[in-house]
């Protein structure tokens, strides 16, 4: 049980090891607090959708499972969006469309397809919590690095501002790609093996995607990199 929980935090960290959900990872991590907010929002959606899908796993017919999952996830994403709008309007403002875009975050879809549809409720919720913590931790790490170098603050508190000239480029798009690249390289180095960028294999959409099927058939990698979404 503990293993299910910790699996997502280190061994299968969704962001740095499975390379899923790259869009919000790059987009919202200009400051650490945004990363934290996004991570918590996505975790809540993930817990809700994993629990619901796990409960419904014997009821949803195999053939229409994809639209059913998408609807369930979109429902939870909407609930979270409304909650954030009501209780943390500043966060809603800074996350912008990335809040509704949690719907197409492939971490959530991937866990629904790979885990929740095959396991019980408790295990699915634990898996969701572990994956959520892993995602949040990666986002906070990235946000902290970018904020510290780019603005000279950490969670809004002045750290190096004044002493070291902030490098604005870090909070601009190129800085996002760069810091993410360095973090993945670090994770590769520490774990001693390359991130599982089996291309489409890691993506939640793989089971119903022609590109991945072709790749599996011919044994050719469909392309290195993240999944989809």
């Amino acid at each position: 049980m503990i293993k299910t929980l910790t699996n997502g935090i280190l061994k299968e960290n969704p962001t740095l090891r499975l390379v899923l959900g790259t869009c919000p990872t790059l987009a919202v991590t200009t400051v650490a607090s945004n990363g934290l907010g996004m991570g918590i929002a996505a975790t809540l959606v993930l817990i809700g959708s994993n629990a619901a899908i796990s409960l419904l796993r014997n009821i949803i017919p195999e053939k229409v499972r994809i639209p059913a999952y998408i609807t369930i996830i979109a429902g939870f994403a909407t609930i979270i969006q409304m909650l954030v709008k009501a209780f943390a309007p500043a966060l809603d403002e800074s996350l912008g469309i990335f809040l509704p875009l949690i719907t197409v975050n492939c971490i959530i879809f991937g866990r629904a397809e790979m885990y929740a549809s095959k396991n019980g409720v408790l295990a699915s919720v634990l898996d969701a919590i572990g994956m959520g913590i892993g995602f949040t931790a990666a986002l906070v790490a990235m946000g902290s690095i970018r904020e510290l170098i780019g603005v000279g603050t950490l969670f809004g508190m002045t750290v190096t501002k004044g002493a070291i000239e902030p490098m604005l480029i870090m909070i601009l798009p190129p800085g996002g790609f760069f810091v993410f690249g360095v973090l993945v390289a670090l994770a590769n180095k520490l774990s001693g093996k390359e991130a599982e960028i089996s291309g489409c294999g890691a993506c939640g959409a793989a089971p119903f995607c022609h590109v991945a099927k072709e790749a599996a058939k011919t044994g050719v990698e469909a392309g290195k990199g993240g999944g989809n979404g």
Binding site: V104, P174, A185, L186, C200, K224, N228
Partner: protein, 201 residues
């Protein structure tokens, strides 16, 4: 009129490039930009679905959801419309336009869960200039698609070079690709302020 449309188009392609400055559609950008032909095929399919999805979701939001106070259903409705639309496009192409299906068919299922498509439809109903006019929204979607294509094509060229380079073991594969993407994104910063300069504020 024409100037404002052109400025939306140029902004969507260059200054607010969907992949390199808005971070939407990163996964296909990293996943299928390895070869030029797949990059072009995917981009054409994305552009097509983006414009089509906007043509359907914008009227739904403006004439059905907003008047009846159902704005909170926006995300669910949009993602379902996109999913259905992608299926319809796939079936139609398969039946009537075989060559196009063979070229684009494999990319279509990937597009349903592509955040660039849901992203552009959501932006088109939230940004003021787009929400006001249907035509602006369509042009913005077209520009977003073309910008997506430009980034994919440009990056597939960069990637062929990067793959041939001898880099340290730890940064091999994804990390060096991301660092290369960072430099490509840096080059697009040079276009900042271009639209104001060309078309006035």
């Amino acid at each position: 009129m024409i100037t404002s449309l052109l400025s939306i188009l140029v902004a969507a392609i260059l200054t607010d490039n969907f992949i390199l400055s808005k971070f939407l559609g990163i996964c296909p950008f990293l996943g299928i930009s390895k070869k030029l032909d797949t990059a072009v095929g995917m981009s054409v399919a994305v552009t097509f679905v983006m414009v089509l999805a906007t043509a359907v979701t914008w009227p739904i939001k403006t004439y059905i959801l907003s008047p009846f106070g159902l704005d909170y259903l926006q995300t669910i409705v949009f993602i379902l419309v996109i999913a259905v639309l992608v299926q319809l496009v796939e079936i139609t192409l398969k039946k009537y336009i075989k060559p196009l299906y063979q070229a684009l068919g494999v990319y279509l299922p990937l597009i349903t869960t592509n955040c660039a498509v849901l992203g552009v439809t959501l932006l088109n109903v939230t940004q003021k200039t787009m929400a006001e006019s249907f035509l602006n929204s369509l042009v913005n979607s077209l520009g977003a698609g073309l910008g997506f294509m430009m980034a994919m094509v440009m990056f597939s060229g960069v990637r062929e070079r990067v793959n041939a380079a001898d880099v340290p073991r730890a940064v091999k594969g994804l990390p060096i690709t991301l660092i290369a993407a960072s430099i490509v994104a840096l080059s697009l910063l040079g276009f900042a302020g271009l639209t104001q300069g060309l078309f006035g504020a």
